[in-house]
Amino acid sequence: MAELNRAELNAIELDGVVKEYLSHGEVVQAVKGVTLDIAEGEFFSLLGPSGCGKTTTMRMIAGFEEPSRGVVRLHGADVTNVPPNKRDINMVFQSYALFPHMNVWDNVAFGLKQRRTPQEEIRRRVGEMLEIVDLAGREKRRPREMSGGQQQRVALARALVNRPRALLLDEPLGALDLKLRQAMQIELKRIQREVGITFVYVTHDQSEALTMSDRIAVMNDGLVEQLGGPREIYEKPASAFVAGFIGTSNLLTGVAAGGVLELGGGRVLVPGRDGEVTVTVRPEKITISLDKPDGEVSVVPGTVGEVVYLGTYNSYAVRLGDGTEVTVFQQNAHDATTTAERGDPVWLSWPAQHSYAIGSRSTP
């Protein structure tokens, strides 16, 4: 039999995974059927609002919850009913869940000790890991004597020192302030590159997911709404939910004929579409101008409402003829020409490739 090549196997596979709870005598589905393949070495994010099932999904990967139906595989092996202490996977908890009665060294060494690793190796690996997370010299500290950022790094070291096949992170940056969070995002990405381990990252923060992930699964109501790279998810949202959840988005609805959607005295290009259609377009893709632009672009007229100055850009709320409100971001670049003001009639335009027709399954 040919030897299995680990690199060719997916790190994590979920196959039709469902999780049901009994709540007040009623069956509630927290996860309604998730199928995912997470590749070896990938930085993969589960993104969605609270209650979307992302944490339950991750807890099933970790082994804290058993799926009601479906299969969980790690490197091809079915682990659906394997307890967490027998899974070659580690987790960084939301509140870190450090052992409060142990110092930093003992916290980090815990997993290796449980696996009966030789003393000498424990000493070496814990030392190395504390170097990586920049905590060397703080071995004797207790968790509560440390800042949130330091506790976070202890939690990371405690998981990574075991060299797991995959690391699960449950909103690990949620408790940190903005500055520290941004620094830790870069730090996490660096550590992931350094150790080359698959990261599964659970978050409700879309900018965090877009910044760090190789791929993102956007979850809503127990299902995966869209699976793809950050750019794909941002530029081509598959549903109204995704469009609304990731960044700001404008939704234009109408009936298209021959690839053109007539809208409030203007036209939106929707190549190859006919009939009822919803189109998304990102605020920063739209150009705002006082004169009607020429060329093969989508063009709609409107009236400027609120104008908000936001430093690097202005945000315009433009009301279209049919009452739809469209948000437009315009950079305050040195060559910015338009100075539309409240009440001005303006033209909005964008190239056809920036409006994306979606199958509207649900709304946020």
Partner: protein
């Protein structure tokens, strides 16, 4: 004025302590060094020999009290820890119901509870009488007036004081910390030994203190459930004070008991690691 406010607010409690703790203790210390009798009165003679006499006469009862108190404390720990664990981790939404059930016997007076235990353990009582009637126990089987009865009574009476502090400590253990142990390859046993147990030690420490001290000094259980061979130091103090009116001996015994308990607690705190216990408790 502002800086004084906390002290002023604490003043009533300090006064209370002064009047009802320090003054009686000082009075008792003084009495323990006096000589005389109840009819002619007592006079201060600084007779430290009172202590030597009292100890010489009653060392058996003192050692027995410590032994019974220790046995009962161990029994309470063995019975109480699993109960506290079960309520804290498996109690779910009914936790408060179980805690209420635990405290329910306290709605009956301490002495009355002990006397009911006497009925229960009586040679021909509800329990043993019935079992003997069925021929399950020999006719001369008895528990009342033995060590087992007294230690059993102490265990029964003080058990909630062991369970409650342990429950509080276990309740405070973050379930995610236990999950983290499982996640880091710990078996159920290892997770308990390395994480849950150490985190509950402050509760165990408090529970042992709250049960060992009153159990050792308790006169009621020995009097109601014990026989002549089970007299504890509490009974002696009571008799010396109320029956023999020998106040100096009673006071000297009380102080000796207090000293022995304080030294015992000190050694115990050292052994269990004061630092660990206090640190974990301060968390």
């Amino acid at each position: 004025m502002k800086r004084l406010t906390p002290y002023l607010l604490a003043l009533p409690s300090w006064m209370w302590l002064a009047v009802f703790l320090v003054v009686p203790l000082a009075a008792m210390a003084s009495v323990s060094l006096q000589t005389g009798n109840a009819i002619d009165g007592f006079a201060m003679t600084f007779s430290f020999s009172n202590y030597a006499d009292a100890l010489g006469r009653y060392s058996t009862q003192l050692v027995r009290s410590l032994w019974y108190g220790g046995l009962a404390t161990v029994a309470m720990l063995v019975i109480g820890y699993p109960v506290a664990y079960w309520i804290a981790f498996k109690g779910g939404s009914r936790k408060s119901v179980y805690l209420f059930l635990l405290l329910l016997p306290f709605f009956v007076s301490f002495v009355l509870r002990t006397i009911s235990w006497g009925f229960l353990l009586a040679d021909d009582g509800v329990l043993f009488g019935t079992l003997k009637g069925w021929g399950l126990l020999p006719a001369d089987f008895h528990v009342l007036a033995t060590t087992v009865a007294v230690v059993g009574g102490l265990t029964y009476n003080f058990l909630p004081f062991m369970i409650l502090p342990i429950y509080v400590a276990l309740e405070r253990v973050d379930p995610r910390v236990v999950e983290a142990a499982y996640d880091l390859y710990a078996s159920r046993t290892a997770a308990f030994r390395r994480v849950v147990l150490p985190l509950s030690l402050p509760g165990v420490f408090a529970g042992v203190l709250m049960t060992f001290v009153p159990a050792t000094a308790d006169p009621v259980n020995a009097q109601v459930l014990g026989g002549t061979g089970n007299t504890m130091i509490g009974n002696i103090i009571q008799t010396e004070y109320l029956t023999n009116l020998n106040y100096p001996t009673a006071s000297a015994l009380s102080f000796t008991l207090m000293a022995v308990l304080l030294i015992g607690i000190f050694i115990y705190a050292r052994a269990l690691g004061t630092e660990n216990v206090l640190e974990a408790a301060a968390r």
